[in-house]
Every structure is written in C-alpha cells, then in structure tokens.
Amino acid sequence: MQPQPVVTQRTLVAYVEDLPGVLNRVASLFRRRNYNIVSLTVGRTHEPGMSRITLVVEADPDVSRRIQANLYKLVNVVSVEDITDVPNLIRDVALIKVSTNQSDAETDAAVVREAICRLAEDYRARVVDVADDAMTLEVAGRLEKIEKIVEALRPFGILEMAQSGVIAMSRGGQSLVAAQKNAARDPHRAA
C-alpha cells in the first residue's frame, strides 16, 4: 500500500470568463465530484471579462491536481493554479459585532470598550462602528488569525459575524494571467 497522502486545505485560484452561470458550473463540479469546499469567493479583476475565483478545498496534492484538471475541462475556465506551496498572500476579511453590554451590571460599558479596543490592537483589527451597546471590528488576514480573534472576543458576546471568504495571490512578480497567456500548460504538471 502507498502511504496515505495528507489531506490538508489547499488554495486554488482560477481565472474564469465573466459569463452567466460560470460560478454555477464551478460549484456544480465540486458537488458532482464530491470535493469539499472550505471557501469560495469570486470577484472581478483588472482584466475586462475575467473573474477570479479563489477556492480553499480539503484535498491532498494529488486530489488538488485532479480538481485542477477537472476545472480545466470547464470551457469557461481560463487558468487554474494551486498556490498552496508557493509563497503567497491569503486574505479573509471578517466583520465581528461584539456586545458592550455585560451581564454583570458592575462592569462599565466604557471599560468593556477599552478592553475590546486593546484586543483589536493586538490582532490588528480595526474598529469600524461603535454604538451604545456594541462595537464592530474589521479584521483581515489568514483564516487562523480570524479564528483566534473570534475566540478572544467570544467572552464579550459576539452578536453577529460575517466573513468574506478567502482571496489569495502568489507573492513576487509571477502573474497567473501571464502564465496562462504562455498557454498550453499541462494541468498534470501543475502539481
């Protein structure tokens, strides 16, 4: 038996044509092939007519290669890259609304706010809204960083939270679009 490959989260970025239904095709592929999506984001790029999809999936490198090969089979997918193992930038933005009304009436709201602000500083979060009874923080970074601040804020009482999903890019001068324009990259070789 071959050693069991390690299943970890892998980050894929794909350029797709900005056409109706393309996101559906990508999502349908993952459902159909039973691949597990952790995060999927899609947005416009500087290139007209092109969207960029960032996918975080649970997969080992070989499954990731097969996901890429399957993505390439979608006619509207222009290029795909697994950037997990290259120097990369991975960002997720979260908005976290925290209560400043503590149950024990002894604690003053101002004290609570101050504590939350200190936490925000520690985690490089920004305070983006302050109300009588709540504060909202914005934090950007890797998933782990967001998970940590969530845990730190939990004792105060998180009222609401929203996450953007992951966007990612390789570091350095390499460009996925440029690589695609060099054409005929064999997806089997991508792994």
């Binding site: 071959q2 350029y15 797709v16 044509e17 109706p20 239904g21 559906n24 095709r25 349908s28 159909r32 070989d62 290669r65 097969r66 090969a69 399957n70 390439y72 089979k73 979608l74 006619v75 509207n76 997918v77 222009v78 290029s79 054409a183 005929a184 064999d186 997806p187 089997h188």
Partner: protein
C-alpha cells in the same frame, strides 16, 4: 410534446432565401448546422421549437427523422456519431421535450460521444416565470454535458452552434446542448457566418507528453517480462487501430480490450486476448493480476474493469495513455501518465521502442486459457435448447464477423461481447458507461443513417427492447431497415442473474411478460420471425438479411442461463464465478468461486 402554445402568425415574410440577406433566427439554426456538414437530424417538434421546424421546410438538404420519443432522438444521434465518428444531432422542444433527451445525453456523456442537442426554450422574457413547458435545460443538463449554452439572441445562434460542434468533437468528445429561446428563433437578422477557427480562451483539447515521458515509457517497456496492452474506446475514437497493431506486434505484447474497446484491436489477431473485467475472459483477468506492466490506452479504469481497487493488478507498473488529464489517478494510481491522443502517443512510442518477444509470458497465458475451453458454452452438446451464446456465435459466423452490431444492455450485451468476435473498429455500438436499456434500436437506426452500406443488427433483450420499441414505427415511416435479434428469456436477465447469485434466488420484479414480437413487427408493417431451435438460426438470419424492411427475430432462449465468468461487484478481479465445466466432470453447481478453479 405537441402541446404547442399560441401558434404565432407565420413570420416568413423576410425569408426569401435567394435574394435577401435577412434570416430568421430559426433559419440561421439550419444554415449553421448545414455549414457543420449536418445532413440528418433526429427530433420531435413542439411549441418552443416550432419556428425552427417551420424553417426546416426551406432546407430540404437536411433530413429530419421524426422519432416516437425524444430519448429515441438522442440515442439515434448517439448511434450516428459512434458508427461514423461525426457529430450526431438531435432536436427537441422545451420542457418535457428537453428532459426526455436527458437519458440519451447522459449516455453520450459517459461514453464520450460527440453530439449536439438543440432544444427550443420559452421566449427570453418568460424565462424564470414557470411558463408553459419551461424547464431550466442548461441547469438540468449541466452535469451531463461537456458544455452547454443558452442562446437568447438571434445574433448568437450561428457562432454558438459553430462553437458547440467544435467543443463536441474536439479533445475528448462529448455532448453539447444549445438551448435557443423562441424569440431568438423568431427574430430577423442578417447573419454572419465565421470561417475562422473557433478560439476559446480556456479550452485546451490537445495535450502532448514530453520527450522524457516517452523515454521513461520505453524504459519501462524494455524492463517488462509480463506486459499487457489495454485497448479502450480511445483507440477507436482516435482511429489508432493500425498503430496499436503495429505496436503490439513490434513489442510482442498481448492486448486485452474493454467493452467499448472491442474492435479496436482485431479479435482474430494472435496477440488478442479478449475482453477484461466483470464478464471478461477468465484468463484475461488472471493475466492482469499476474502482469508486471500494463499499458492502458484510451480507457479509464472503470469499476467494471478493475473489480476491487485494493487488489487490482498489484504486480504491475502502469502506463496510462489518456487524453483527459482528469482521468489520471482517478481510480487506479499509475506510474506514468502519457497525456495525449491515443493515436499520436502510440505512433511516437512505436517509433521509439525496440522489438522484443515474450514467449514465456505468452505461454503462461495460453496455460490460463486451457481451462476455459472446457467451460465454453460453444463446447456444450446441443441439447435441443437454444442458448444466447449460440445465437451470438452463429450470427458472427453467418455475417462473417463484418456486421455493425448495436446492443442493448444486459446479459445479451455481454454474450455479444464474448461470442461475436469483432475484427473491425466502429462495428460495435453499445452503451458502456451509463448502461442504458432501450439504447439499441434507436442507436442502430442512427447508425443506419451514418452507414447506409453496413449490415446492421440490433441485439437486445426482451426487457430493454420494450423500453424504446415504439421506434419500430419510425423504422416504418422513415423506411429504415435494420435487423433485430431479440434475446428473449422472459426475464430481466442480468438482474435475475444477480438475484440468483447474490440475493438468495428471489426473483423479485424480474419475470417479464412481453408482447408477441412477431405480431408486434406485423402491427408496424414490418416482419417478424421466431426461432426456438439452434438449427433454425441460419434460415431466420438469411430471411432477415434478405428483407427490405426491418425484421425482428424473436429468439426464445434458455430462460435461466447466466453470463460467465463473473467477477462479483467489488470483488478481486481474480475471483470469478465460472461456468460449470461442460465436460461432465462436475454436476449441478450453479456456480463456483475461486481463482484456483
């Protein structure tokens, strides 16, 4: 699906085809199809596709075959494509017309058949309103097509159809759906027909292995002592039969075929082993388990081929010649993928390999073959009863092995694969991946239109045949002549066999009552015959061949015969249920298991 909504007043004013450059979208559909070389389409009209049907009257160069069900239209387009290698075309209306195509589209998808399905759609402003006969056709067909399109503007019809044909036939082929709204069909435009090559920014149908990959393959082949070649559907699709023969002869490597690879390597060739897998020859599966190198060409290691993966071909290094990178390591981990067109890759390998010979290995395989001869149903004494295997064997002999056979799905399909020895590519049309009952008759009709000079035989079970038998009326109306052999055992035979082997012999919902097929043929203005004894096969076959009309032969075969050998689903490939020996050495074991037998 003739429940046409409000018929629109005839909008033909613009279409003086000779003088005016203006065309209705509906006319552009046909002109675009004609530009792709289409001369026959299979279809069924209805409300949302009526403008297209109305326009068809202006294009007599396109023959339309009116089917009795849209599933038949899809299978006909499929059979047309498989027999010819060209793109098959079917057409249906929105809603139920389109959903009735679904089984046929999925059948084509699983077997990589190039097909374009045109469907009418409700007018664009009505999309999303649950309008009469509205279905989200692109949504429904998304996972069972290579690609699909929703066209809402007449201007987009011609480029989309052109792109659809390109996608359907290039790379690993597959079905493409073009869903065209009724208002796009009704709009008047001045069409522009491109003659430029289709350019799709993200579509890369071609791949080529690197030189170092070829060198690695040559080295692995040189090292091998017990090598096997696998011939899959990709060999036939890429027209690589001659190259494969040359390669096998140069390297002295025996060739096993998949179900869809039958005919890709001639069965009568000394290096031909026969079919592998669940109902493959015992010696083939045993050889696979003993091999030290497998060169799999144009196949995808389907579960019906491998049995349980954990014990599959463990002694063999594997080279996978395959056009679709997504197939690599999907089921079986391979040591060396050669990603590219089967014909191109074999050509390059052939130029690089040294001649070799493997007498010990071939001797070992001959040894494995020995035991099977005494189990072969052809060796059974004629006990007066008719066995399906006899029908296949005799039909093979009577047609010199040259007929184009179209099978349905089930026991007869496996018997055909075992006993009709295919020496030529594209002479077997069968639904392998999806296993679609009801496929045979309509697919054979499509094959007939693709190959007017071939002798065509439908081989179907009594169950599957009834799924699409209304197409007999289409045979009559369109004067399509095929020969039909119904292997009639009164059961859904393959399910019955599983019930016998694995479900305690409880024949739940498998006994099936059929119409009198002779009278059924007669009712359609066709001819029917019945055969109950082996001695009567030649005369019946001769009658069918001589008839001008489609002729059914109702072969009343042994009711509870089973297909042997059989690798039970999910079992080790070497573990087979074998046909009891017919040399009198064994009595009444319905089956026996074990690779030592």
């Amino acid at each position: 699906m003739t429940a046409a909504a409000k018929p629109t007043p005839s909008a033909n004013v613009s279409a003086d085809a000779e003088t005016s450059p203006e065309r209705l979208g509906a006319e552009v559909i046909w002109e675009a199809l004609i530009r792709e070389g289409v001369d026959v389409v299979f279809g069924y009209p209805g409300g949302a596709v009526m403008p297209a049907y109305d326009a068809l009257s202006k294009y007599p160069q396109v023959r339309h075959i009116l089917t009795r069900h849209e599933q038949g239209a899809a299978h006909m387009a499929d059979g047309y494509a498989r027999a010819s290698g060209r793109v098959g075309v079917c057409i249906a209306t929105s809603g139920p017309g389109a959903t009735n195509l679904v089984t046929g589209i999925a059948t084509a998808m699983l077997d990589s058949v190039p097909m374009v399905a045109i469907t009418g759609q409700v007018a664009a402003p009505l999309i999303g309103t649950d309008a009469f006969q509205e279905t989200d056709v692109t949504g429904v067909t998304l996972p069972i097509t290579k690609h699909n399109y929703l066209v809402t503007r007449a201007e987009d019809i011609a480029p989309t159809i052109r792109e659809a044909f390109y996608v359907a036939r290039s790379g690993r082929p597959g079905p493409v759906v073009v869903d065209i709204t009724k208002d796009a069909q009704q709009a008047t435009i001045i069409p522009e027909y491109s003659t430029e090559p289709v350019r799709l920014p993200g579509y890369r149908p071609e791949h080529h292995p690197s030189g170092s990959d070829y060198s690695a393959a040559v080295e692995m082949i040189a090292q091998a002592r017990k090598p096997l070649l696998f011939c899959g559907h990709g060999v036939i699709k890429s027209g690589a039969t001659d190259t494969l023969i040359a390669f096998a002869e140069r390297t002295d490597i025996p060739v096993a075929v998949t179900l869809l690879g039958l005919g890709g390597f001639p069965a009568s060739h000394p290096l031909s082993l026969g079919m592998m897998g669940m109902h493959g020859e015992a010696w083939v599966n045993q050889a696979i388990q003993e091999a030290d190198l497998i060169i799999a060409v144009g196949m995808r290691f389907d579960d019906r081929v491998t049995g349980t993966l954990s014990t599959y071909a463990k002694n063999a290094k594997k080279i996978h010649v395959e056009l679709d990178p997504a197939e690599i390591n999907k089921n079986v981990r391979v040591d060396l993928p050669l990603i590219g067109n089967a014909g191109d890759v074999l050509e390059e390998l052939l130029a690089r390999v040294a001649p070799s010979s493997h007498p010990d290995w071939r001797g070992r395989i001959d040894e494995l073959k020995g035991d099977s001869a005494v189990r072969d149903i052809r060796s059974m004494p004629d006990n007066g009863r008719l066995f399906a295997a006899h029908v296949m064997h005799d039909l093979w002999q009577l047609t010199d092995g040259k007929a184009l056979i179209v099978t349905d799905v089930g026991q007869h399909q496996m018997w055909e694969a075992q006993y009709y020895k295919h020496d030529y590519p594209r002479k077997l049309v069968t639904s392998g991946g999806l296993g679609t009952m009801g496929f045979a008759l309509p697919a054979a009709m499509g094959a007939r239109l693709a190959c007017p000079d071939d002798e065509i035989w439908v081989i179907a079970g009594d169950g599957g045949f009834q799924m699409t038998s209304p197409e007999l009326a289409t045979c009559k109306q369109e004067n399509i002549k095929v020969n039909i052999a119904i292997i009639n055992n009164g059961y859904l035979g393959m399910v019955r066999q599983w019930q016998q082997f694995f479900y305690g012999g409880r024949y739940v919902a498998t006994p099936i009552v059929s119409p009198d097929f002779v009278k059924l043929a007669d009712a359609h203005g066709l001819e029917g015959l019945r055969v109950t004894r082996r001695a009567d096969i030649p005369a019946a076959v001769a009658t069918a061949r001589a008839n001008d009309v489609t002729t059914i032969i109702d072969f009343r075969v042994e009711q509870e015969d089973s297909v042997y050998p059989m690798v039970p689903s999910g079992s080790d490939l070497g573990t087979m249920i074998r046909r009891p020996r017919v040399d009198g050495g064994e009595h009444n074991p319905i089956f026996e298991t074990g690779k030592d037998k």
